[in-house]
């Protein structure tokens, strides 16, 4: 006789649940030392939605210093004047990046000439027009970029990051 495997599985799961509950009941009755309660956490870090500025405040190719997701994490907003992947705003040309080099944590400088962030520590450089791709350098990751949202008033919000920030093992300190 051909049996439906799905039904068999469902039955098995019901059975196990039943015995599990029964076993739990017994355990309580026998007053076995209490189990530690598992801490409930989410799979990903919960990023704050922070207002970093307004579209009207940005000038073409002039970086504005910001920080995200907290005051200890410096970064920049840049209006590039041309649509790029990951760009936000009406023209799809606004990007935000951490300015801490993911290699050794040195603060980086913006070179407006070729639109790169450059690290004086060990000469790494990142292309802000290409999602923070490391053009050359010693970091083992590309530059953390902000997930940006621009609302109807032109306010720019950062709502996430796509790589681990240097100097913290959790992007949101706690």
């Amino acid at each position: 006789m051909k049996r439906c495997p799905n039904l068999v599985d469902t039955g098995r799961r019901q059975f196990l649940r039943g015995t599990g509950l029964a076993a739990a009941g017994l355990a309580t009755a026998a007053a076995i030392p209490h189990e530690a309660k598992a801490a409930s956490t989410l799979a990903r870090v919960s990023y704050p939605a922070n207002r970093l500025g307004n579209v009207s405040e940005l000038k073409l190719n002039e970086p504005v210093d910001v920080s995200y997701p907290d005051a200890d994490a410096p970064g920049v907003l840049i209006k590039l004047g041309q649509r790029v992947e990951g760009g936000a705003g009406p023209d799809g040309d606004i990007v935000g990046f951490s300015t801490v080099c993911p290699h050794k944590g040195f603060p980086m400088n913006y070179n407006a000439g070729d639109r790169t962030l450059n690290c004086p520590g060990h000469y790494s450089r990142f292309d802000v027009e290409k999602g923070g791709q490391q053009v050359w350098g010693q970091a083992t990751q590309n530059l953390p970029q902000y997930v940006l949202r621009v609302d109807a008033k032109g306010d720019i919000y950062a709502e996430g990051l796509d790589e681990l920030l240097y100097g913290r093992l959790n992007n949101v300190l706690a």
């Binding site: 790169t116 999602g131 053009v135 959790n170």
Partner: protein, 819 residues
């Protein structure tokens, strides 16, 4: 978009994590690391007492923090069959790298085999054999029996010259003392194999033969000398990209002036300033750019020679220095010979050199002055560094001799702030029985294979398909010859061993080649092979090596090797065991006896049998002692074991005694003779572009692990070819377009990378890359000792297609740091 991991946190190393010594297994610098591991169901916390750093990790850490690691430094691996978290991070207390990790080394964890996180799933886990038309798994005993049966039959019938071997002979992941000894004892002890080659060249020879013949071993100084030198002379080496942390941690402090205190403390009684640097290289590299950023342009001199003319330049500097009297007369008299002969033979005027090399006469004089003009009556200290631009360059033997001539004349060997040293590729780790039977010049193995010689080929961690010269022709013939054997194997049932061996031997007699590949990953040459034997790599076994200042350390086994894979030394031992058994069964007890002495159970057995028992100072060195010496180890050779420490040797030849019979270093005659390797002159005349070639910062070696690195393959889906924008425009090529590079030797492909600093007509292509093999267009010409001349290659370039989709997200901006 650029590749992003979307990792926003990492498990924290708990306070009680296991901590083991590790040394980066990629480049020669051998940066010190630690491997931290702990059970997969545990984790540390942010409170100081809850993590290995005893640090509050709820706070942002400062730059250069010890208490941070990148996602690339983390993985889940197996230890004794159990999943554990692992973090492999650079060690701040290691004198080599002081906590620095390069884009290559700092990815060791991510490039480890992990079933849990699906990294390096390409790794070989089982012996594989050609069966029923594809490579399929089998047992060690089955695979080794087949290898031994065929190998024994062929060497008995045709002699040992019919067994060809390609074998690593370095350190780190390119060998290590255990594995060079294991393979060496098999091929140079039990047998006397003559047709053998090394991973990156088609013969068994030294890359730096002349310096050894002159009595000046090539790794004669220490990394600190780069901090003490008045002038560093970097010849054909791009050290920021290929010896990254040596450059960053020891050259840059001198260029910045931050090693001045050290100079004054260690070398009192002479004037000191921050360092100057001279580069001899046809190409402007990122290394030169970084030097200018640190030292200022006024302290950096780039001699952009015409490709292959270094010898003429060096001889001119030598001549000028001698004429000015800027030589170390006492040293020359006491410790050298044949100085006058070399002066006479190598005499080259500044004017002639300027004409040949294209370097302005005043720059040649400036270089000579920076190297040797006395500083207030005191000898100037110059360190001479060279690597593949010279080693794979025109007239290797003479050009290296000309460097050593200059270093000896100026008294810069065995002294603080001096040295005439190769920069190196892999770490070193050579321990083998004598190789004199190989001969000089050694057999040109690849050429012999193309000519149909040899019946069996054993390959250890080499991939000719990516890293040899005349590669296109080699691959064409190699495939044809190994296919003859594959077809023969398909004609009999696999389980009928006598019939199988007979079919293979008959195929060999008909021009076929039976190929056995020992490696950690499936290689391109492996596609042609009949047996793959899976090897363990550094960290999956205990492994010892030394770096470019002869610093010997152990990498402890911090994880299990994948599947059934084994250390190479034990694979060699098991091949020997099976050879002994098979030869005995054939009735040749005498030959079988030659394969005794391979009863090793562990890599430590191989180490004690090899390095400990045979190498200079080896008797002072054991695993236990090396483990106690940690990431700083000691500098070879060991001279003693005292107070729980192995005592080493900071600099070679510090006593003025060199490696010749009478202890005197020999000056060599080394006259300029044009492009020396056959076919180069003709190629240069016939084809339009110089196809210079070399490494990229992001890629380790032939990308054998990086092919599974999303970070690297995202940046370089195809090998780049740096081209002057005007050259690109002339053939209607845009950035990212795929181009064909072709000449009389073959053809290959690359991706155009506009490079305004590239001189017109001079390109630079990534070497040894799987998606476009530069060796396809390198002709077969070598020097008189069968050293390949990869660098002097000329070819034409034509467009194949517009940039493919996988290239469109790439940055094509200048790779030079801009303040």
């Amino acid at each position: 978009m650029a590749f992003k991991r979307n990792i926003d946190r990492l498990p924290i190393i708990p306070a009680d994590a296991k901590k083991q010594t590790a040394v980066c297994h990629y480049c020669i610098v051998g940066c010190g690391y630690h491997a931290y591991s702990w059970p997969v169901n545990k984790q540390g916390g942010t409170a100081p007492g809850e993590n290995i750093f005893n640090t509050d990790l709820s706070k942002q850490q400062a730059p250069e923090s010890d208490a941070w690691y990148a996602p690339s430094m983390y993985n889940i691996v197996k230890q004794d069959g159990q999943d554990v978290h692992i973090v492999i991070k650079p060690d701040k207390a290691c004198e080599v790298n002081s906590g620095l990790g390069s884009i290559r080394g700092a990815r060791m964890a991510e490039l480890s085999f992990s079933q849990a996180r699906q990294t390096q799933q390409q790794r070989l886990t089982d012996p594989m054999v050609w069966r029923y038309g594809s490579m399929v798994p089998t047992s060690w005993d089955d695979a080794l029996d087949l290898v031994a049966q065929v190998t024994a039959t062929i060497v008995k019938a045709k002699g040992e010259d019919a067994l060809f071997v390609s074998a690593f002979d370095h350190g780190g992941a390119g060998g290590g003392y255990e594995n060079t000894w294991g393979t060496g004892k098999l091929y140079f002890g039990a047998m006397k194999i003559k047709n053998i080659r090394i991973h990156n060249r088609p013969a068994y020879n030294s890359e730096v033969h002349s310096t050894r013949d002159m009595g000046v071993g090539e790794l004669n100084n220490c990394y600190e000398d780069a901090e003490l030198a008045d002038t560093i002379v970097a010849i054909g080496c791009n050290s920021l990209e290929t010896q990254t942390n040596y450059y960053l941690n020891h050259w840059v402090p001198n260029l910045r002036g931050t090693s001045l205190d050290k100079k004054q403390a260690q070398l009192p009684g002479e004037p000191h300033a921050k360092g100057r640097i001279i580069f001899i290289d046809p190409r402007r590299t990122v290394t030169i750019n970084a030097a200018e950023a640190e030292a200022g342009k006024e302290n950096v001199l780039h001699l952009a020679v015409n490709s292959g003319t270094d010898l003429a330049l060096l001889n001119a500097i030598f001549t000028y220095v001698v004429e000015k009297g800027w030589v170390d007369k006492d040293f020359i008299a006491a410790s050298t010979k044949d100085f006058d002969k070399a002066v006479k033979a190598n005499k080259t005027s500044i004017e002639d050199a300027a004409k040949l090399t294209g370097v302005p006469a005043e720059d040649i004089i400036k270089a000579a002055t920076w190297i040797a003009a006395p500083k207030e009556g005191k000898r100037r200290r110059a360190m001479f560094a060279y690597e593949k631009g010279i080693i794979w360059g025109n007239d290797n033997y003479r050009t290296i001799a000309s460097i050593v001539n200059l270093a000896l004349a100026t008294g810069n060997v065995g002294r603080e702030g001096g040295g005439a040293v190769r920069m190196g590729g892999h770490q070193e780790g050579y321990s083998r029985p004598a190789d004199g039977h190989v001969g000089k010049p050694a057999a040109y193995v690849d050429k012999l294979l193309i000519e149909g010689k040899g019946g069996v080929h054993h390959i250890w961690g080499c991939d000719h398909y990516k890293t040899t010269l005349n590669a296109m022709e080699f691959k064409r013939v190699y495939k044809k010859r190994t296919d003859i054997v594959k077809d023969a194997m398909n004609s009999v049932p696999y389980g009928d061993r006598p019939a199988m061996v007979k079919a293979i031997v008959d195929a060999i007699n008909a021009g076929g080649l039976f190929a056995v590949d020992m490696d950690i990953v499936p290689t391109q040459i492996g596609q042609a092979c009949h047996v793959w034997l899976p090897a363990a790599t550094s960290g999956e076994m205990n492994l010892t090596s030394m770096n470019g200042e002869r610093r010997m350390r152990i990498t402890e086994r911090y994880m299990d090797p994948p599947g059934q894979s084994m250390p190479d030394c034990l694979i060699a031992a098991r091949i020997a065991n099976h050879m002994e058994r098979v030869l005995r069964a054939m009735g040749d007890a005498k030959y079988a006896d030659q394969f005794k002495g391979f009863d090793w159970k562990t890599e430590e057995d191989a180490f004690m049998d090899g390095y400990h028992a045979n190498e200079k100072g080896g008797k002072f060195v054991t695993y236990e002692r090396l483990k106690a010496m940690g990431t700083n180890g000691f500098q070879e050779p060991a001279t003693d074991f005292k107070d729980g420490k192995i005592i080493g040797t900071k600099r070679l030849f510090a006593d003025g005694k060199f490696g010749t019979k009478d202890g005197k270093a020999i000056f060599f005659e080394a006259q300029w003779r044009g492009l020396q390797a056959p076919g180069k002159d003709e190629q240069k005349r016939k084809f339009k572009y110089l196809i210079n070639n070399g490494r990229a910062n992001q890629v380790w070696q032939s990308a054998y692990l990086d092919v599974e690195s999303d970070l690297v393959m995202d940046r370089w889906p195809y090998p780049f070819i740096e081209m002057n924008p005007e050259d690109m425009a002339a053939i209607s090529v845009k950035q990212g377009d795929l181009v064909e590079v072709w000449n009389d030797a073959g053809s290959t492909q690359a991706m155009a990378y506009p490079t305004p600093t590239a001189r017109k007509g001079e390109t630079f292509m990534l070497f040894g890359y799987p998606t476009g093999v530069e060796g396809n267009v390198v002709n077969a010409g070598t020097n008189e000792l069968v050293i390949p001349n990869y660098k002097q290659t000329w070819g034409n370039i034509r467009k194949i297609s517009d940039a493919p989709a996988g290239v469109k997200h790439l940055s094509f901006k200048s790779q030079e740091y801009k303040a």
